[in-house]
């Protein structure tokens, strides 16, 4: 989930012209060669620490490769097996179950997140409502975003444990009679994971959507108000269509982030994905294979993750490159 933080800060700008003067020639000196110097460190580091590992991860996916964990032997099993690992992974229920878990928990957190964020963003920017203390609200709801996911999970584990404060409060309030074991119910545990993701991200999304709404030409609102449109009408027919590219961007980057979900369920369930594996995510599955040094299977799951995020990334790319055209088309078909 950590990658999401960065992504969220850098909404790609739509087609921007390179307006700066070119660095061609001043006093007959060609400075362009300096370009290599400036991009060199990035690429060196990227190639060594990301690209080579990526290639070797792909390579491992075609090998049976592990070290015996139960016996103390030096022998490493290393054997080319072609697409055998892929067959195993694709026929393995665990693969699809972890993918399903990941998507379900992501959705459970994301749907309320986008709804609440849209609601808050529209309230905060509503000129007629003129809400006070919005700065304070924003500050508070954004805060969980910066909290260490592992500490946050550990905190939730303590809060919702059978003897923890939440059960205690619920019992005292007379809502339940005996401790509810949150971590023994699939729905409850998944719900907690989703709640944490929601808490960590809804502030961030609210702020992004607010910025998007504030970027809309105010004259559009003014004329709508003069025409007597209600807040709801304005929101539906002006705000929503105009922030749609950002909305789609938020959905897909969040989905990519969701695909990487690890810290929260890992620590909440102590890596077990309990109850009965209903909170085990794809990356947790990958982590288990990494832990037992079964590099063949780990490599194959990595490739699968790579392909899934590549598909989503391409979607982001296509949407942010040509948002306006698709927007216009949609709007037209809607208005008919």
């Amino acid at each position: 989930m950590s990658a999401k933080l960065e992504d969220a800060n850098t909404i790609p700008q739509t087609a921007k012209s390179n307006s700066g003067t070119s660095g061609k020639k001043i006093k007959g000196v060609n400075y362009n060669k300096w370009g290599y110097f400036f991009i060199l460190p990035f690429f060196l580091v990227y190639i060594i620490f990301q690209l080579i590992p990526l290639v070797s991860t792909f390579r491992y996916s075609f090998y049976e490769h592990y070290i015996s964990q139960g016996l103390l032997s030096e022998e490493v099993i290393h054997r080319f097996v072609g697409i055998e690992n892929y067959k195993t992974v694709f026929t393995d229920k665990e693969t699809w179950r972890t993918l399903g878990n990941t998507m379900i928990m992501w959705l459970m957190g994301f749907v309320p997140q986008i709804i609440i964020s849209l609601l808050f963003a529209s309230w905060f920017t509503d000129l007629r409502l003129r809400l006070k203390a919005t700065g304070l609200f924003k500050t508070v709801i954004y805060m969980p975003n910066l909290i260490m996911a592992s500490a946050f999970s550990m905190l939730f584990f303590a809060l919702f444990s059978p003897n923890g404060p939440v059960n205690d409060i619920l019992i005292h309030a007379g809502i339940i009679k005996e401790s509810f074991r949150f971590f023994s119910h699939a729905g409850a545990t998944r719900g907690l994971v989703a709640l944490m993701n929601f808490l960590m991200w809804f502030g961030n999304t609210t702020i992004l959507l607010m910025a998007a709404i504030m970027g809309i030409d105010p004259s559009l609102y003014e004329s709508a108000q003069i025409d007597g449109a209600s807040s709801g009408q304005i929101f539906r027919s002006i705000t929503l269509p105009l922030i749609r590219p950002i909305l789609v961007y938020v959905v897909i980057t969040s989905m990519i982030g969701g695909l990487q979900m690890f810290d929260v369920p890992q620590i909440l369930t102590d890596g077990t994905g309990s109850p009965y594996g209903t909170t085990k995510t794809m990356v947790m599955n990958l982590n288990e294979h990494l832990y037992s040094k079964n590099y063949g299977m780990a490599g194959t799951i990595s490739v699968l993750l790579f392909v899934l995020s590549a598909i989503l990334s391409i979607a982001v790319f296509l949407i942010t490159i040509r948002p306006d055209t698709s927007e216009v088309k949609k709007k037209k078909s809607k208005s008919k």
């Binding site: 700066g20 001043i26 991009i39 910025a211 490739v303």
Partner: protein, 286 residues
């Protein structure tokens, strides 16, 4: 006039509903932290007896228990996390600006287009997918259990690069570079002495985000670090989850979590204006 929303009473009701909903979610966001702080001040036995909304008097003894726990050297872990996060953050912002400057200033070298396109392409690749090759390579380099694998890779941060590029495109006039050239400064020096100071506001915000990201990072560090003295804060917190429960002191547990959370919250409260603005600074202008 159909503007019924604008009529005083309707608007007031609307406003009240808004405030109630906002307050509800604010309390929801604050509740876990409130319980955390309260329980961090209470003794183990009190916590076992049940929840209380009031602070206890065991701050000092819980604090001491955390410091005393040799199995979970939390202070050491904080120091480790700080070293890693501060170095990563510095490298990330410096080299992202460095790379972006190269792409933004020199419009006409061979791989420019390719380089820019490539960085955009890799922006979305999760670090998890190359984790296997990464730990394998680090083991071959003999860097397992060192901080290097957690620091050096932050030089290549595509998202921050992209932010810096956007920022430079919109607010770094080329005239400044040209003026420096006329003064005879070399390009590297120009970047360090003239450009970097100009980018300070943007760098500062990105540095905070990069710091927090590194500070909170768990997946890769837990694969790289396993010696007790090199562990980072998230690893240690995760270990509390699977610790020897026979010796579990809940007051100490809450205090440990507070160690991981409170410093960030304090920094955030001090800088919240800049940070909240920074979230959107990425340039949602169009």
């Amino acid at each position: 006039m159909k503007r019924k929303d604008d009529s005083g009473a309707g608007l007031t009701i609307h406003r009240v509903i808004c405030y109630l909903v906002l307050i509800f979610f604010t309390l929801l966001a604050l509740f876990p932290f409130y319980v955390l702080i309260v329980n961090a001040t209470r003794a183990h036995a009190d916590i076992q007896k049940g929840f209380s909304a009031f602070f206890g008097g065991s701050v000092v003894s819980n604090f001491k228990a955390v410091l005393r726990d040799d199995a979970h050297p939390l202070v050491r872990a904080m120091l480790n996390s700080f070293i890693i996060a501060a170095s990563s953050s510095a490298l990330t912002v410096y080299f992202s600006a460095f790379t972006a400057y190269g792409i933004n200033t020199y419009k006409d070298f061979k791989f420019r287009k390719f380089a820019n396109g490539f960085i955009l392409l890799i922006m979305m690749v999760p670090t998890q997918v190359s984790a296997l090759g990464f730990i394998d390579l680090m083991a071959q380099f003999g860097l397992t259990n060192t901080f290097w694998p957690l620091i050096i890779p932050s030089i290549a941060a595509p998202a921050v690069y992209y932010f810096m590029l956007s920022y430079m495109e919109s607010s770094l006039p080329m005239e400044i570079v040209e003026a420096a050239r006329i003064d005879g400064a070399n390009e590297f020096k120009t970047f360090n002495t003239i450009i970097i100071p100009m980018l300070k506001p943007a760098l500062a915000v990105q540095a905070i985000f990069a710091f927090v990201q590194s500070w909170n990072n768990y997946f890769i560090p837990q694969l790289i670090i396993d010696s007790k003295n090199n562990k980072t804060l998230p690893i240690l917190i995760a270990e509390l989850r699977s610790a020897d429960f026979t010796k579990f002191n809940m007051g100490q547990l809450y205090m440990s979590i507070a160690f991981a959370i409170v410093p960030v919250v304090i920094v955030y409260l001090i800088l919240s204006k800049q940070i909240v603005r920074g979230v959107t600074l990425g340039g949602v202008k169009g």
